[in-house]
């Protein structure tokens, strides 16, 4: 196990990058501490797979260094970095039994048969695969195969980090839940460093202690699930995390106050200096938009029943505002108005949270 650091890492797939767009990764400094559960979250094309491949050694960065426990490994090939990887599609040896699959990495390392036996049994037990051990891997379901891929990483004691690249893509939602819980439990029990790459916020937030959010080749925020939800430092994070995402509304700042649709709005981070010439926006999550007797008048255009709550889409001038309604709460038949919870309404300038 190891601490992993990226120092001034930049990467371009082009020979001579010129414009900022030519860089798949724009200058990164990141540290992953030993034993942490991390998620790397962002939409397709944000650079997360490039970053994963740089850590694993499949891609050599154009600039910067990769260090494991402060040792520079930038030039070291993948097979000498002691990394276990779980991919979108399970990789198992179909002709082998589950037992042989799990034992494979240990046999390769020349461990004694008795030791292999003991380790395989222990891992199989953790993964609830005990009864499957004598079976052929080819007969397993997708989630069973994915557990084997993971088990082959867990069974080794020389692994620095286990990396998951969208590992639940081929798994049914009701099994995703179980496998995600299993992963989390395994992390808590083994305290291996795990990095989980996904575009799915639910997967990232439920699995990770720290989430690294990427957007257009940059890390826009690193934080706990609570921090990302409560205090997004970039409008992109506000929109990307949470379903539905944060409402991002145009606003005007004048006379020290923030105004939306001609009304003054209280924010958690009032402006201190001049914001002249900057593009200002309000960020407020649907959870913190409340129906009010008096407030900002809106037209309700759509109500969707999401089961445990309803998603209400309202319009105010040109802006679309979403809010959530608990089960059993009724909507006004006409003259709806909303207010924003001041403790959870924030001001952004050029996409960045004002701090």
């Amino acid at each position: 196990m190891a601490k992993i650091s990226l120092e001034n890492v930049k990467h371009s797939y082009l020979k001579r990058p010129r414009t900022p767009e030519d860089w798949a990764l724009k200058k990164l400094d990141l540290e992953w501490s030993d034993g942490g559960a991390y998620a790397l979250l962002g939409p397709s094309g944000c650079g997360k797979t490039t970053l994963l491949n740089i850590i694993s050694g499949l891609v050599r960065p154009t600039e910067g260094k990769v260090l494991f426990d402060d040792v520079d490994l930038t030039e070291r090939p993948t097979d000498r970095r002691h990394i276990a990887q779980v991919f979108q599609f399970p990789v198992v040896y179909d002709t082998m039994t589950v037992r042989e699959n799990l034992a494979f990495p240990l046999r390769n390392r020349g461990l004694k048969a008795s030791e292999i036996e003991q380790k395989v049994e222990a891992i199989a037990h953790m993964l609830d695969l005990d009864e499957m051990l004598p079976r052929r891997a080819s007969g397993l379901t997708a989630d069973g195969k994915q557990k084997i891929s993971l088990g082959r990483g867990l069974v080794r004691s020389d692994v620095n980090v286990i990396m998951f690249d969208e590992p639940l893509t081929v798994i049914d939602p009701h099994l995703k839940w179980q496998l995600r819980s299993k992963l989390k439990e395994l992390h808590q029990r083994t305290r291996r460093t795990m990095i989980y790459v996904t575009h799915d916020q639910t997967e990232a937030l439920t699995f990770a202690e720290k989430v690294v959010v990427m957007h257009e080749g940059r890390v826009v925020q690193v934080g706990s699930p609570v921090e990302l939800f409560e205090r997004p430092r970039h409008t992109f994070v506000g929109h990307f995390i949470g379903s539905p995402g944060m409402n991002i509304l145009p606003c005007e700042v004048s006379g020290g106050g923030v105004h939306f649709a001609g009304r003054r709005v209280e924010v958690e981070n009032p402006p201190r200096g001049s914001l002249a010439g900057r593009h200002t926006e309000l960020g407020v999550r649907p959870e913190f938009v409340l129906l009010a007797e008096q407030g900002i008048p809106v037209n309700i255009v759509k109500v969707s029943d999401a089961g445990r709550y309803r998603i209400v889409e309202a319009r105010c001038e040109e802006s679309r505002i979403k809010l959530l309604l608990e089960e059993g709460v009724s909507l006004p038949a006409s003259n709806a108005a909303v207010r924003f919870d001041p403790a959870h309404t924030r001001l952004y300038a050029d996409g960045q949270l004002l701090e």
């Binding site: 009701h174 839940w177 916020q201 699930p225 029943d305 089961g307």
Partner: protein
């Protein structure tokens, strides 16, 4: 337009893939087929399209028996989870191809292709070839091609499954708007209960080749006819247990019981199954309908806005899902509260009784 399956059965050898099914789907609004992998969603769609012949029963479209009509003559468009494009044509031509085949005028083709490309966010890519696009963009190209023509029957087989989370969320919002003024019957298969809820319309829940219920989506969710339907339509899984009802009370365990609802009180004493959705169990007491139970925490998941707690109560392994952040230690025993006014009760055979 309507699509009807009349006593349709599909068997292969000794195996029945689709048990006798009667279903009537109308235009306007989505018709969702909700079920896990291998529940029979794809087979059902292939029967609707005419790609598979039923072993028994008939398929009717708009009052005509089309069981024997070839798929090419049915004006169907279908999107699969795995998408296919023409590699040597531009994205524009890929999307336009069904319109060209139909002999549509140039200006209209252009207008339609652009509109649909905007919707699925590939408008800047129209001049490129599919090979130059990312996987997600290729999928959207194929989706656009299937949606661009006015088919009588549109079959969407998990079309959002491989897309980015946020794009899925947006398309769930946008897709229904696309069909508002069209005459098509739209069928959408998914494994995800949230897709069904947010796309609205009607939902058929499937398990093991059988439709367990069909009706307006919200109704199927809030008033499932049986326990199987409630299970298919719940993610995380619905909590279930055997309870005994006696002297106006519901007894879950030695320590947990509550007053029966008026509806349940009408029923004879005895054993029932209770179904409690995860969001009706919370670490915070909520009003008068709350009944306390102790749970030993097994797993906790915080998703930013919600806490999910997997816990054990006696032999029961249950899940609670609640708003806000409730950081609880694994291994400890905590207090949880059941919103007993929202419990569902089923007979021993699994039929909803109260």
């Amino acid at each position: 337009m309507t699509l009807e399956l009349r006593n349709v059965v599909k068997s292969v050898g000794a195996q029945t893939h689709i048990h006798e099914t009667n279903l009537r789907l109308a235009k306007g609004g989505f018709n969702i087929l909700l079920g896990t992998t291998l529940a029979g969603k794809t087979t059902l769609m292939q029967l609707m399209a005419g790609l598979e012949q039923p072993s028994g029963g008939e398929v009717w479209f708009d009052g005509k028996n089309v069981t024997a009509v070839a798929v090419q003559k049915r004006n169907v468009s279908m999107v699969y989870q795995q998408f296919i494009n023409y590699p040597n044509l531009s994205v524009f031509e890929n999307i336009a191809s069904p319109l060209r085949v139909a002999g549509m005028g140039r200006a209209e083709i252009k207008e339609r292709v652009h509109r649909i490309a905007e919707l699925v966010r590939i408008a800047p890519m129209l001049a490129r070839r599919p090979g130059e696009l990312s996987g997600g963009q290729q999928q959207r190209t194929a989706l656009a091609r299937a949606l661009v023509k006015d088919a009588d029957l549109v079959l969407l087989d998990e079309p959002l499954a491989n897309l980015d989370f946020k794009l899925r969320e947006e398309l769930r919002d946008e897709l229904p708007k696309l069909f508002v003024n069209r005459h098509s019957v739209v069928v959408f298969a998914t494994t995800d209960p949230m897709d069904a809820l947010l796309l609205g319309g009607h939902t058929a829940t499937l398990r093991e080749g059988r439709i367990t219920q069909f009706g307006p989506t919200a109704q199927v969710y809030h008033r499932p006819a049986d326990l199987v339907t409630a299970q298919v339509f719940s993610n995380p899984p619905i909590n279930t247990a055997s309870v005994s009802k006696r002297a106006g009370h519901v007894v879950l365990s030695d320590t947990v019981q509550w007053l029966a609802t008026p509806e349940l009180r009408e029923l004879p004493d005895g054993t029932y199954l209770v179904g409690i959705r995860p969001h009706h169990i919370s670490p915070v007491a909520n009003g008068t309908g709350s009944t306390r139970l102790d749970g030993k925490v097994q797993i906790t998941e915080l998703s930013g806005s919600e806490s999910t707690i997997h816990f054990q109560h006696g032999p029961l392994h249950w899940v609670s899902q609640s708003h806000g952040i409730h950081a609880v230690e694994v291994g400890t025993t905590i207090q949880l509260f059941i919103d007993v006014d929202r419990c569902m009760y089923f007979s021993a055979e699994g039929k909803l009784v109260a």
